[in-house]
Each structure stands twice: as structure tokens, then as C-alpha cells.
């Protein structure tokens, strides 16, 4: 499954920082809305239904 492999190379920290920066100055509701848009965009970017559904399942599973 995709989530076994870290794929961001040396850019991981930068991307994580950019992700947090997207939320700067937003209210909780605005942040939640941004996250929803982001998920929809990324779902389309991934494109492949089986991979998207694997991510859905992984995200839904309650943490152990």
C-alpha cells in the first residue's frame, strides 16, 4: 500500500510547513473548509480509484 513508503524525499519538511502556512490566520471553520477542498483536490490528483479508496480506509480506521 502507498502509505508504507515515504515519497517526499528532502521536501517533506518544506511541504509540511507549507501545509501549516495555508491555515495561518484562518478560523476553525475556514480551516476545516480548506481541508475539505484540499482533500478533494488531492483525490483528483491521485486519480486512481483503488488508491483513493485505500486512503479513505486508512484515514477512517480508528487509531490503535
Amino acid at each position: 500500500m502507498d502509505s508504507a513508503t515515504y515519497r517526499l524525499g528532502l521536501d517533506g519538511d518544506e511541504i509540511y510547513a507549507e501545509l501549516l502556512a495555508l491555515h495561518e490566520g484562518l478560523s476553525e471553520a475556514e480551516s476545516a473548509a480548506l481541508n475539505a477542498r484540499l482533500v478533494l483536490l488531492l483525490v483528483n490528483a491521485v486519480g486512481e480509484r483503488s488508491r483513493v479508496e485505500a486512503a479513505f480506509a486508512a484515514a477512517r480506521r480508528p487509531k490503535g
Partner: protein, 521 residues
């Protein structure tokens, strides 16, 4: 006070106050911490004399900086103290990351062989300073260490600086052509010059404790998010020599430093952290972080290096290690300017290169600190969910940021424009990788002056020292085949494919990298 035995250095009344002969030392260094002492030694290796003044007469009180990175050790080795440090220090390269009781991730900072120096050693700052003082004493003609000597005033002209120094016998003026401000994060010189740090202050408080205990913790860096012994916070454990352990505990931003530092409050926290093992408390400090720097490090004849120029959070060990790299970058340039071999414009390259490297350290250190102390509910949500995903999904584990440990700054794109024809993995601005040679290591043979490294090719006629290596070697793998011009601080200044460079090309590259005003000796 730590159990280390402090032996005060002798204060000697300076010749300026006793009427003795005053030696001419072109460089005044303020601060005899690791940065000031390393600068004095490096300048002495270039034949340049300095006077080092320090308000104290003992080495660092408390362990303070303990993690010394590979690049720092390579620089210390060039200065003649690296082997002694490694011998005394606790060598490590593995970091382990825990979330709650569970280990989620580990990393190896040096997974390959063929390097003289390890990824890291832990060694208390007082030992580092002691060894540097011992080494400085190998240069009695060039290094004048003056203890109990506090800078109280500073004036500079276009020709030099005058520092007013206060001693137990009164005040005197100390003149020099340049002054290195290595007087630490609370730099008096920075305040006297009205210079301000720019950057971010973080609110969370952290408690640092050194404890002495007999335990079997491995020589590794252990970091916890939400450890069972310190709920909801972070903790960090490092092993030091002499059965001393460094424990770093995150506290609430609202914690009262004076209350938290009291032994009756510290001891129960440590007891939980070390699982009931018997220990004695050696040193305690409470601190907040800043990630800040001066806009410029060079101010006329006054040059800032180390914590006086920049401060970062300790996660990543980028403070002391950044400062030693400042020295590595500065000493050869300042020596060349003082000796009249280079134009003063060379010092501008110190400013440019080390400001760039400092920004890299600040960026990494700020991100780590944000990860540990999320600033908003949304940042905390991402952090907590990343930790939750990491339990089952390996991709998330390297994203957990418990500190990105100090790596040598690459000055690629920030050094003087130069040919880049090596075709291998190294480029101008990169620090030279080490590699094993017959009977030693490559970095032992580089540095101190400009030199050429010829790998799998022959060097043209040149006045520079040349080291020629075959193309079937680990060095060839790490550099590629070609000709490499190496700066005195073991950074690549230029590179050429085999046969591409003649004497004139090499000469031009040296001139560009060194702002040279004189022919090569």
C-alpha cells in the same frame, strides 16, 4: 555546580596596566567560549596573533552545548583537537523516536563507513573549552588569553578597533585591526553597537537537567512525544561522558522558571523520566527559545560569530555547530586580509555565506520547534494525526520532526562563481566529503590553505599543493573524477573535468575565491 572540577585560569595583569611590553596583535577576540577559542587557534594556524578576553576565569559552567556534529569534529581535527574530543566524548549516530510507550521510528545519521569522524559525539561544553584552551596554549607567541577581562566599551574607525577592558586591576584600552565578537547570545558588543536580533521567539519553556546515574541506556538520542512519564509534552535523553545524562523536558508556556528550577520540583520529574533509578542532580537550567539572527554579521571592523550573531532552538544541535562553522569560514579569510594577501571584500563573503547557512539552521530549527510546540489548534491537529498515522503507516514516520540534526551547510550557489565541471556528486560550495586513504583519511590532507585534489587525472603545473588519487577509490565515488580546487576551510571552490583546467584557469579560480591581492607564495 556540575561535578566537573573547575580549575580557574590564572589572571595576569595585562602589560597595558603594568607597563610591560605590549605585543602587537591584529585581532581582538571577545569571549573564550568554543567559538572564540576555535577562532584564536585557527588564526594562529595561519600565523595571525590574537588577544582573547573573557570576563570569567573558568570554562563553561554547566554542560550547555553537548552535541558536536561530524563537520564540527572535522574542523576540530583540523585545529588539532578532534581526536581528543572523540576519545572523551560519547559517540552516537542513531536517534530513536517514541510516541507514548511505543517506538515509532529510528534514524541512522551516518549509515556508511569510510569517515574519520563519527556522526556525532556528546561532550559537555566544559570539556570542549578545556581542550581548546590546552590547544591554544600550544601557541604562546600567537594567542594571548586574558581571563577576568570584561569588555565595557568599544570604538571603531576605518583602520581598527579599540576595546575598553575592565580587569581586577582597572581598565585599559586594547587596540586591534579587527575584533571578533564571540561573546555569546547576550553579547555586550551587540548591545553596545545598538544591533538587534531579528526573528521569532517561542513561548514554551523547556527544562534541561543533567543527572549523574549509572544506567544502561545505549549511546543514542531518544526523543518522546507524550511520554508516559511526562504526559502531553516532549522529552529528550542524551548520554554524556562520566555517567551524566541530559534530560530535556517540555513545560507549559505558563511555567514559572523560578519555581520549576527548584530541586523539589525538578527531582520528581526526573524520577519519573529515569524510571526510579538512583541519580544525583548535576545541573539544571530552564529556557525559552529564539530563532533569530543579526541582519549582518560583519559591521566594519567588528565581526560577529556564533551565538552573538545567531541563536536557534537546541533541537537539532545547530547552535554550537553553526558557530564552529562560522569560525571555519571566517578564520582563513580574516587571516588573509590581516596579512595583506586579500582584499577586505573577502570578509563580505563570510557575511554572505554564513548568513545563508544560518538561515538554513533557523528554518530547520523553527520547524522542529513548531512541531513540538504547535502554535494553533490546527497545527496541533495535524501534528497529533501525523503521530497517530505513524503507528500503522510508515510514510508518516520520517515526517515526525523531533529535530533535524545539524548537517554541514552547503554553500552551493552562494560562493564566488566558479567552474563546476567535476561531473560527480560534489559542486562548488560543498564541504569536502571525507574518504579513507592509505594510512589515514582524506580530510587530514586537505585544508588550511588552497590546494588541489586530482582524482583519476593529473594536475597541471601549479604552485598549489596537489593531492593525487586514483579513480578506483571511495574518494572517486564521493567526488567523481576530475580536478577540485579546495578552500582552506575544506570546501570546494571550483571543479573541472579531467584535462579541462590549465594553470591559468586554476589561478583565476583561486583569485576569485580568495580576493587575492598578492601572487601565490
Amino acid at each position: 555546580m556540575p561535578r566537573y572540577t573547575y580549575r580557574p585560569f590564572d589572571y595576569v595583569a595585562p602589560p597595558e596596566l603594568t607597563g610591560g611590553p605590549v605585543r602587537d596583535a591584529p585581532v581582538v577576540i571577545v569571549g573564550a567560549g568554543p567559538i572564540g577559542l576555535a577562532a584564536a587557534i585557527d588564526l594562529a594556524l595561519h600565523g595571525v596573533a590574537s588577544v582573547v578576553v573573557d570576563e570569567s576565569d573558568v570554562v563553561s559552567v554547566g554542560s550547555r552545548a553537548i552535541c558536536w556534529a561530524k563537520r564540527t569534529l572535522e574542523i576540530f581535527d583540523r585545529l588539532g583537537v578532534g581526536e581528543r574530543m572523540v576519545e572523551k566524548g560519547v559517540t552516537w549516530k542513531v536517534g530513536r523516536l517514541f510516541h507514548g510507550e511505543r517506538e515509532v521510528y529510528s534514524f541512522d545519521l551516518l549509515p556508511e563507513d569510510g569517515h574519520k569522524m563519527p556522526a556525532f559525539i556528546n561532550l559537555q561544553q566544559y570539556y570542549v573549552e578545556e581542550y581548546l584552551v590546552d590547544r591554544a596554549r600550544d601557541f604562546p607567541e600567537l594567542i594571548d588569553l586574558r581571563w577576568k577581562s570584561r569588555l565595557v566599551g568599544l570604538a571603531q574607525t576605518e583602520a581598527g578597533v579599540t576595546a575598553t577592558i575592565e580587569t581586577p586591576d582597572g581598565r585599559y584600552d586594547l587596540a586591534g585591526r579587527y575584533l571578533i565578537a564571540a561573546d555569546g547570545s547576550r553579547s555586550t558588543i551587540r548591545h553596545l553597537m545598538g544591533l538587534e536580533f531579528e526573528g521569532t521567539t517561542f513561548e514554551d519553556r523547556f527544562l534541561i537537567a543533567d543527572v549523574e546515574m549509572t544506567a544502561d541506556f545505549p549511546s543514542e538520542r531518544w526523543f518522546w512525544f507524550e511520554p508516559p512519564f511526562h504526559p502531553g509534552q516532549t522529552a529528550l535523553l542524551h548520554k554524556q561522558p562520566d555517567d551524566i545524562y541530559r534530560i530535556d523536558l517540555q513545560l507549559d508556556a505558563s511555567a514559572d522558571p523560578e519555581v520549576e528550577k527548584r530541586p523539589e520540583n525538578v527531582i520528581p520529574r526526573i524520577e519519573k523520566a529515569v524510571g526510579g533509578r538512583p541519580f544525583t542532580l548535576d545541573w539544571v537550567s530552564l529556557y525559552t527559545f529564539r530563532c533569530v539572527r543579526l541582519a549582518r554579521f560583519v559591521h566594519g571592523r567588528v565581526i560577529f560569530a556564533g551565538d552573538s550573531a545567531h541563536v536557534v532552538s537546541p533541537f537539532g544541535a545547530r547552535g554550537g555547530n553553526g558557530g564552529i562553522q562560522d569560525v571555519d569560514n571566517l578564520a582563513w579569510k580574516l587571516a588573509a586580509v590581516v596579512k595583506g594577501e586579500a582584499d577586505a571584500a573577502l570578509l563580505e563573503t563570510y557575511d554572505r555565506e554564513r548568513v545563508h547557512a544560518t538561515d538554513e539552521n533557523i528554518t530547520n530549527s523553527s520547524r522542529s520547534t513548531n512541531f513540538m510546540s504547535p502554535r494553533t489548534p490546527m497545527e496541533r491537529l495535524f501534528r497529533d494525526q501525523l503521530l497517530a498515522l505513524a503507528e500503522d503507516h510508515p510514510f508518516a514516520r520520517p515526517m515526525i520532526n523531533s529535530g533535524r540534526l545539524s548537517r554541514p551547510a552547503s554553500l552551493r550557489g552562494h560562493v564566488a562563481a566558479a567552474p563546476d565541471g567535476g561531473g560527480g556528486p560534489v559542486h562548488p560550495g560543498d564541504p569536502c566529503p571525507d574518504a579513507p586513504l592509505d594510512g589515514g583519511f582524506l580530510l587530514e590532507r586537505l585544508g588550511g590553505r588552497f590546494s588541489l585534489l586530482a582524482i583519476g587525472t593529473a594536475a597541471p603545473a601549479t604552485l598549489l599543493p596537489v593531492l593525487t588519487l586514483g579513480s578506483e577509490s571511495l574518494a572517486a565515488e564521493r567526488y567523481g573524477r576530475g580536478l577540485f580546487l579546495v578552500r582552506p576551510d575544506q570546501h570546494i571552490a571550483a571543479s573541472w573535468a579531467p584535462g579541462e583546467a590549465g594553470t591559468a584557469e586554476i589561478d583565476a579560480a583561486v583569485e576569485a575565491a580568495s580576493a587575492r591581492t598578492k601572487e601565490l607564495a
